[in-house]
Amino acid sequence: MNNMFQKEATVVKKEQLGPQIHRLTFSAYEIARRAKPGQFVMLRAAQGLDPLLRRPFSIHQVTENGTLQILFKIVGRGTQYLASLSVGDIIDIVGPLGNSFTTGASGGHCLIGGGMGVAPMLFLAKEMIQSNRPIELKVLLGAQTKDEIVSLLLNFSELGVEVLHATDDGSSGHHGFVTELMEPALLKSTEKVWNIHCCGPQPMLKQVAAICEKKRWNCWVSMETMMACGIGACLGCTIRGADASLMPSSTNYLHVCKDGPVFSAVDIQW
């Protein structure tokens, strides 16, 4: 039985959530119904062959009737093309790809999303709430400015989950980095065992991993790299694994598409 699919998906909804921030909803039943939080899809982001390569996106949300959402900021020609799509347009989509977040660990769970790294966290939060396990769940979000995050905050609060947020410019929430919210938020809880799930820019992930190491919290990070195939064939999406830092001469390469995108933070060479 197939686990991955290549489909011509129809755009069924498009939303602009902030300046340059867009959310697209596709009908992609086979992919949506198998998708797990943390997995990604590869989209053709051109009508012809330029830009050439597919673009990877975390799965933002799925619905029972077989739709799938991505969330993105316009940063280049590929995302510009995606933002120009209209409802009814067709897009070539491959997925679901990669591994997923570990949701079953005991203890509290804290979801941290920075910038567009918030995308998989909505899917993950929903999944955890729907599992009906009596777990303590916190969400910490970071953005450059209020306009980038205000709509997304609503989506999380609709789930009834506790959300704290930070902005770089102080226009909303804590003025500073989202990582500065971690210790105050988690240490005041009676829960002593924490599982941190995070996605965002590399410096943020590194900082989260460092805090978790210090506090002995479990930490999972969703990594991002340039990618060509997304299915383990091109071997282009390499990152360095932790063993290489212990022995600088060795090369413990990991591949984000197949070994990840979610890794235990202790397995990564920061």
Binding site: R44, P51, L53, T225, M226, A233, C234, L235
Partner: protein
């Protein structure tokens, strides 16, 4: 399968001329959810060395205009693990398997060939003498015609399997290289491997790839590849396999009309995993709608008055 697509590379009969280029299709299994892999003309697996290789440090790839640069650095599982872990799957799938091999020395190439030659399920060998992404070996054999001739002659003595030699475009005269490997006993040549290139990050003010240089592939290189296939088809009597930026059936037909008896699809596999399937169908329809009974009738047809 329709017989009109049958083609031959030396003694190797293929049901159709569409193959997957080495390094773009893993060891086949990676694509099983997307492609009927037994339907492909052949699968050319990721280049195999005697011992496993870790490959180059990241970043390894970058997108360019209508193409991409890669400096994977021949990361592979090595010949022993290939035989143990990868080949049985392909044998079960009834695929025609061409093993791409590479080495740092003539001896290394020879000992890989010795270990592959008597194994069931291997249909041909493609010698990679043209990878631009490793410091020694590989391309060293691919840019000097007497070294290439010597390598092919020595490998030739080790196997009766059809021997394809993959040529580098990063030479002054590709026909000289083609003649040298034909003279050494190659059954076919495949071309082109990637063109050496680079990209610079203007904000970091540094090369994008950790390896500094990488191999350019994708539709951007097709005209260069086509020109070289045209020249080599005139220069040698052995079959020529066309590679370089083939993304759709029309591209494949161009290469065949220019003298290629088969083609390989590379980077396009990343963009559209169904490319090979679509090309097989497209060539078949092209032949039928133009009243050709066999692909052999159109090989090199653009050369004839």
């Amino acid at each position: 399968m329709n017989r009109m697509l049958q083609t031959k590379i030396g003694s190797l009969k293929l049901p159709n001329p569409v193959m997957t280029a080495s390094g773009t299709f893993g060891y086949g299994k990676e694509y099983e959810d997307f492609v009927n892999i037994h339907r492909l003309g052949a699968i050319i697996v990721k280049g195999i060395s005697l011992n496993p290789r870790p490959g180059n440090p990241p970043p390894r790839i970058v997108e360019t205009a209508c193409g991409m640069l890669n400096a994977i650095g021949l990361q592979n599982v090595g010949v022993a693990r290939f035989l143990e872990e990868k080949l049985p799957y392909l044998r079960n799938m009834n695929c025609r398997v061409i093993v791409n091999i590479l080495g740092d020395s003539v001896e290394e190439y020879c000992s890989i060939v010795e270990r592959l030659s008597d194994k069931e399920g291997i249909h041909a060998i493609e010698l990679n003498i043209s990878c631009p992404n490793v410091k020694k070996g590989g391309v060293a054999f691919g840019t000097n015609s007497s070294t290439a001739n010597e390598l092919v002659s020595r490998v030739r003595k080790k196997t009766t399997l059809p021997l394809i030699v993959k040529l580098s475009p990063n030479v002054t005269d590709v026909t000289e290289m083609a003649r040298a490997v034909e003279d050494g006993g190659a059954d076919a040549v495949s071309l082109i491997n990637t063109l050496t290139g680079m990209a610079v990050d203007i904000y970091k003010k540094a090369p994008v790839l950790a390896n500094i240089v990488g191999g350019l592939s994708g539709p951007a290189i097709k005209p260069v590849a086509l020109r070289m296939v045209w020249q080599v088809a005139d220069a040698v009597a052995i079959p020529v396999i066309g590679i370089g930026g083939i993304c759709k059936w029309q591209d494949a037909v161009e290469f065949i009309l220019a003298g290629a008896c088969a083609i390989q699809v590379g980077t396009a596999n990343f963009v559209n995993p169904k490319t090979c399937d679509e090309i097989i169908n497209g060539i078949e329809e092209y032949l039928a709608s133009n009243n050709y009974g066999s692909i052999r009738e159109i090989i090199g047809l653009a050369k004839k008055e």
